[in-house]
Structure formats: structure tokens, C-alpha cells
């Protein structure tokens, strides 16, 4: 029985029992230690016992409080400890569900912006509770990013560590577009390693025209998409004007060299000289070969 208060009293046992019986109080564990008597009564009778043995000669004291009273006293005396324990327990419970920071490690950390966005979509945000983290979904979404070939998501305390590895040796992006002319001119040479050449040598093309399509034609004439791989050389023409103080051979060479800055594959060039505002104007007309390529790196 936990609700028994134990008393110690200096009194003959017969007298104590007589008084307690008269008051209709149940007595438990009555023992005698020399002249001292110990006994227990139910918690609700403890005040009554003090009233019965109120005379100073009995020298009555509580030897042991009931379990409930002891628990309450313990908690009252150690209020700070109890609060600390509660705070610690709450912190321990909450910290397992809190994400304070999301760290992206590995050589795929350059994708951290996209990865953190994916983490947010999957329920993980910095400085917030994260009870329903869907790690498999997060991994699947991260692995769907270009060049990512490994991803692991794990918690280290309040940190969410996302390790992302990308394929280092093949960082060049595959271009799924067709090869288009970037200048207007005449096709000088065209090589289609993969895909279909839509123009032939000698064809006139404008800037933006498709040279190699990203498809292949079957024998039945059906078109199947594929990568366009190849290059084309286009002979294009251009002109530029330069102003000098006088006409001379030296200035003519300078004007022709200026055309060379435009392209390093000059096919032909010519110039005309005309007076202009006290000086001369050199109009240089030249043709050059422009190379365009796709997926050839």
C-alpha cells in the first residue's frame, strides 16, 4: 500500500492502539524499538493521528510520508530539475524531426540550387519540422537531373546531408537540335555522321536553315528521331569599310588585314578606294569559310 504514512511516537503500544482503535483508525506495521513505537495509518488519517497524539509527551513525528506525498515533495524541491528534464526530453524528441540545414556534398554540389528545391518539394526545409521526409522520392527526383548518377540522402543530427555525384568525364551536354546555318552563303562541304543532311555541296543557304536534321529516314521513307552529328562549311561573303588619311599601299594592306580579323579562312578578297571627307575610304569585300558543327566535341 503506497498511501500509508509511517509515524514514530514515544508511547506504550497499548495506549497508542487503544487511542487509534477508539478513533476507528486502522493500524499497520506496528513495531516497537525500545521506547519508541512506529506504525502506519492511511494518508487521510494522518492529521487525525496528530490530533490524537497532540500532547508534547508523545513526541510524534512522521517517519515516512506516503509515496504520493514523497513524489510531490521530490518534484517541488527539484522543480528546476524537472523543468530541465522536460525541456531536454522535448528537445530530444523535437530534434529528431527538425532540419536546421540542408547540405549538398559531392561533385554534384554545383546543382545545389535545384537539389534544395527538390528537397523542399519532398518536405524538407531548413529551420523547420520535417516529419514526413520522402527520401526515396527525393533520390528519384535528384537522379533524374542531367548527369547525376549517384545520390544518397541521410540525416546527421539536425543536418540533412545529400550526397550527389555526377559523371565527371562526360560533362559535355548532348544537343538534340538539328544543325543550322549561322550565316547565309553556299554550302562548301557538309558531313553528316549521324542524322540526315538536308543540303548538298553547292546549295545556297540562309542563316537559320537546317543543314543536318536530327532524324534518319528508313527504307520505307519513315522518319526516326536521332542525334544530329556532323559539321558543315559554308562559303559566305562580307564587306567592311575603313577610313584613312590618304591612299597608299600600306593602307591597302592594313584594310586587307582587317578582313583577316573577321575570319581566319579567307577565300578571296578585293577592295575599292573612294575619297571621303578629305581622306579615303577602303571598301573591302571578301568571302570566307564558316564552319558549323553539332555534337562533335
Amino acid at each position: 500500500m503506497n498511501n500509508i504514512v509511517e509515524f514514530s511516537i514515544t508511547c506504550p503500544p497499548e495506549t497508542a492502539l487503544k487511542k487509534l482503535t477508539k478513533a476507528n483508525i486502522a493500524v499497520f506495521k506496528l513495531k516497537k524499538h525500545g521506547s519508541t513505537l512506529t506504525f502506519g495509518v492511511l494518508q487521510e488519517y494522518s492529521e487525525k493521528v496528530f490530533a490524537i497524539f497532540s500532547h508534547p509527551c508523545y513526541n510524534i513525528t512522521v517517519k515516512r510520508h506516503s509515496a504520493k506525498t514523497r513524489a510531490v515533495t521530490f518534484l517541488k524541491r527539484r522543480f528546476g530539475l524537472v523543468i530541465g528534464a522536460l525541456v531536454f526530453t522535448a528537445a530530444a524528441v523535437v530534434s529528431g524531426n527538425v532540419v536546421m540545414r540542408i547540405k549538398v556534398t559531392g561533385n554534384g554540389s554545383y546543382l545545389s540550387g535545384q537539389i534544395i528545391s527538390i528537397a523542399n518539394e519532398c518536405g524538407a526545409r531548413e529551420w523547420s519540422l520535417c516529419k514526413k521526409l520522402d527520401a526515396p522520392l527525393m533520390q528519384a527526383k535528384i537522379l533524374a537531373l542531367p548527369d547525376v548518377n549517384f545520390c544518397s540522402v541521410q540525416r546527421e543530427g539536425a543536418y540533412l546531408i545529400i550526397d550527389v555525384r555526377t559523371e565527371e568525364e562526360h560533362t559535355a551536354r548532348v544537343n538534340y537540335q538539328p544543325l543550322k546555318a549561322d550565316v547565309s552563303g553556299e554550302v562548301y562541304r557538309i558531313v553528316a555522321i549521324c542524322g540526315t543532311a538536308e543540303r548538298a555541296q553547292g546549295d545556297k543557304v540562309n542563316a537559320g536553315d537546317v543543314l543536318i536534321g536530327a532524324y534518319e529516314l528508313t527504307e520505307e521513307g519513315e522518319s526516326n528521331p536521332c542525334l544530329a552529328v556532323g559539321f558543315a562549311e559554308i562559303t559566305a561573303s562580307a564587306s567592311l569599310s575603313l577610313y584613312y588619311d590618304k591612299e597608299s599601299e600600306e593602307n591597302a594592306q592594313k584594310a586587307l588585314k582587317a578582313a583577316a580579323l573577321y575570319s581566319d579562312r579567307i577565300v578571296s578578297q578585293s577592295y575599292t578606294v573612294a575619297p571621303c571627307d578629305g581622306g579615303v575610304k577602303y571598301d573591302v569585300t571578301f568571302s570566307y569559310i564558316q564552319t558549323v558543327a553539332i555534337n562533335m566535341e
Partner: protein
């Protein structure tokens, strides 16, 4: 007290009798008007018309309420006067 009575009944005690003594355990006494003397070796109980003396070792009045008294300890003898 119900639990105690059940234990005594299981141990073979007859609770309708005035008292029952179980060796090395204790004794259950009914109609105890008062305790006239108590020490760990001797307890004198006043019943209706007689006095009952319980002797033994390490005697403790484990419970006393409404004329029912349970003594725990090693009771070696009970005598009447």
C-alpha cells in the same frame, strides 16, 4: 484485508474461528477488544471473556482494525487465561 483473508484461506486458515496461526508467517485474530501488552516477543490480547497471550519472535502488529488483528512474525505459542 480481503487480500489478506484470501491468502489465509489459501494457506488453510478457517476465518470463522477466533484465531488462526500459520507457523513462520503469523496469525489472524478476531474479536480483539484491545492490545494489553506488546513487545516483539510477546503480545497480550484482550478478547470478549478471556486474555490471549501470543509468544514468538519478531512479532509485528501488521494490521489492527475493527477488532481484527493480524500479527506477522514467527509465533511459537498461544495461551489463554
Amino acid at each position: 484485508m480481503k487480500l489478506l483473508q484470501q491468502i489465509l484461506r489459501e494457506a488453510g486458515a478457517d476465518l470463522d474461528k477466533s484465531f488462526t496461526v500459520i507457523p513462520s508467517f503469523g496469525g489472524y485474530f478476531k474479536s480483539v477488544k484491545r492490545v494489553e501488552d506488546y513487545s516483539p516477543e510477546r503480545i497480550v490480547l484482550a478478547l470478549n471473556k478471556m486474555r490471549l497471550t501470543v509468544v514468538g519472535e519478531k512479532l509485528i502488529i501488521d494490521k489492527y482494525f475493527q477488532q481484527d488483528l493480524f500479527i506477522r512474525g514467527n509465533i511459537s505459542g498461544v495461551s489463554f487465561e
